[in-house]
């Protein structure tokens, strides 16, 4: 997809604009995908508004670590931070999904927990905590979920190595005939 077509598609339809405006946060929409960009401090209020507006379910909470990368498709007036928490909601009536992308700074990786608003985010937030080290304030049981409890580090951060070991072979050190000859 070229930049022009992308920009063209990014023009939200009039209905979508109304739809997304009511949450009072920056938003964007491309294709069927709707994105809002609430600020970290307004996150819970926005979530309540979403709930009351008929977004039935919090499908997914995850995060991305933009260590030194440019954030794709981020509105220019939103200051980019290292972490971005991405939450996806779904509505039965509209048959649509809505994505919220919240910037979380590296210095204070903390954000309000959705647990009381969307209890289904319980494990998802624990996973994000485990993998990225982002704290969710107000979560009832914020502990590691996938890694052992005494694990050091947060594996999905970009500064965490994959940790692979070399694969075994038999003749990998054998000299090639040319060098040998």
């Amino acid at each position: 997809m070229t930049a022009e077509t992308e920009a063209a598609e990014m023009q939200p339809a009039e209905t979508q604009r109304e739809d997304l405006q009511r949450y009072g946060v920056p938003y964007a929409a491309h294709g069927e995908q709707k994105v809002i960009f609430p600020h970290r401090d307004m996150w819970l209020q926005t979530a309540v508004a979403l709930l009351q507006d008929g977004w039935n379910m919090c499908l997914d909470v995850t995060a991305v670590d933009y260590l030194d990368k440019k954030h794709p498709a981020l509105p220019s007036d939103i200051p980019a931070e290292r972490f971005e928490v991405v939450a996806t909601f779904i509505s039965y009536e509209r048959k649509e999904r809505l994505r919220a992308r919240i910037q979380v700074p590296e210095a204070d990786p903390t954000i309000g927990s959705l647990y009381t608003i969307y209890p289904g985010s319980d494990y998802l937030e624990r996973e994000v905590y485990d993998m990225f080290g982002i704290n969710f304030e107000g979560h009832p049981d914020l502990s590691r979920i996938l890694m052992p409890e005494n694990w050091q580090g947060h594996p999905l951060r970009k500064d965490y190595a994959v940790g692979s070991i070399p694969v075994q072979f038999k003749n990998s050190r054998q000299d090639s005939p040319k060098e040998g000859a």
Binding site: V167, Q168, F169, K170, N171, S172, Q174, S176, P177, K178
Partner: protein, 228 residues
Amino acid sequence: MGYLGGFPVTLKKWFEGVNTKNYRGGKGGKSDVKAPKPERLHGRHVLNKYEDGMEKCIGCELCAGVCPANCIYVRGAENSPQDPVSPGERYGFVYEINYLRCIHCDLCVEACPTQAITESKLFEFSFTNRDDAIYTKDELLVDDEGKPKQLPWEDWRDGEDEHTSGWMRATAPGGDASYEGKVGWSGELGYGVREPEIGQSVDLKASLRAKQSRISQDQSSQEETPHG
């Protein structure tokens, strides 16, 4: 009598006979049979030769590069002009596959530009030693008749060395329907050029007609035996 329903159902199975193939790892004599293998099966790999006995591998390392598990180790070397190993400039000097890493996705087969590496139908092998699991070029290379080497920890049966290139032929058209049925590979030692695998058939229109007639047959047979 819902309680007793299970009894006739299970007893009926007795008279339906057994499904089991009595495979016993090659130790059961005559009754030891394998389940039939489909052509496309991803088995243990073989390194092919041309019909003139030259190795197909040119040491390009595409297979090693594309392997998600990094289980292939290839190092190419220059062919010596007097005694070339492969027709090209280079040949695979070291070629190893670590079968304790290989996931049999056959991306290597798809990647290989010369069809040097294809897969056999053999999937019955196991190792008592880590060393055995690392196949060297010697072990992977077919013999002068184009047959794969049969190693002691493998369970080969008659005819299993055929169809060593099923997946390669299946993916050969690259998704392009107009290339279906076109031979896009060089001959294999011992088997020559094989018939291409027919997917939706070479002649699209003919296949469409055949398909429609088949479906109408199916429908009529389906009406006779309604499901559900």
